[in-house]
Amino acid sequence: MAPVQGMGREMINYLAQASINTELLYSFVIIFVSLMIYFGTKDLYELTNHKGIKYFRLSFLFFAVSIFIRSILKFLFLFIDPRTIREIVFNLNVINPIILFLFMYFSAMAIFSLLYSVMCKKWNGKCNLILILNIVAVIIALISVVSGSSTIIFGIYLFLLLFVAFITFMAYKESKNKKKKINLYTVYILLSAFWILNIIDILVPNVLQAFQLIIYFVSISIFLSILYKVLRKLGSN
């Protein structure tokens, strides 16, 4: 019996190691790509102070920060193995809820900043909209940390995705070159959708485990496609 137990333990250790390696690689790629976009567009922003460029850059900085926090959370969860959010909040006392809150806040702000970068031309001068989006991000983060129900979390993120889709559709409807812009808006919606799946993956453990690799692969592909667009534009002129 002992050798079987030993082999079982070895297998578990191997799987845990593989999971850590995958997580590390995934986080590294997303952080690297996001920071490349952020620093690559620094010059353009410094020259123009263009609001759209500002929030486009900020959105990728927020993506980088939130994936960094996500990795910390993932590692904490990996070693503590919680079953539900409630357990996570109560078991890990104060530190984890704070990290979880920051992760949720930066994730929501990453999506909101991307939306704002596209819509700020239209929303320009309207009652501190970015402040309102900040408040909404704080509320989303608070609900995610305090609420123990996965149904509520799914509900919030379904609503957020519908909101993103609606705003993106409005931006698309008003854009001049519709044929050219459809790819961009599709990428933005996909990015938001996969980012939300990333969030659900961390908040409701085990639900998306079977699809984790697919989520990672598609998320990386989306980030790389945006980086490609950025580099092509920065380099082509």
Binding site: D43, L44, L47, T48, N49, H50, G52, I53, V118, K233
Partner: protein, 88 residues
């Protein structure tokens, strides 16, 4: 004629200064920029604050483009291309 964007107006002002041997007085600059005095003053103040233009006092106010201003002109098509690509 379509309305010029802010980015385009800034490029035009910098271009006028640059094409005048990088030294122009304020009155011909206002005239050549095709802007009302009020609008010109708004952009002019911004360009000075951002460090794209510099004012020198010789025999009157002489305006020149800074290194940053030249960089703006150089990168103008990249800036416009980027804003268009991401619909910013």
């Amino acid at each position: 004629m379509t309305k010029r964007s802010k980015i385009e107006i800034i490029k035009d002002i910098l271009d006028i200064v640059n094409k005048n041997n990088n030294s122009i007085k304020i009155t011909p600059l206002i005239r050549k920029s095709n802007l009302s005095t009020t609008r010109f003053n708004k952009y002019y103040g911004e360009l000075i604050t951002k460090g794209l233009l510099i004012e020198k006092i010789h025999s009157g106010r002489i305006i020149s483009t800074t290194q940053k201003g030249l960089k703006y002109l150089e990168k103008y098509s990249t800036i416009v291309g980027f804003i268009e690509e991401f619909d910013l």
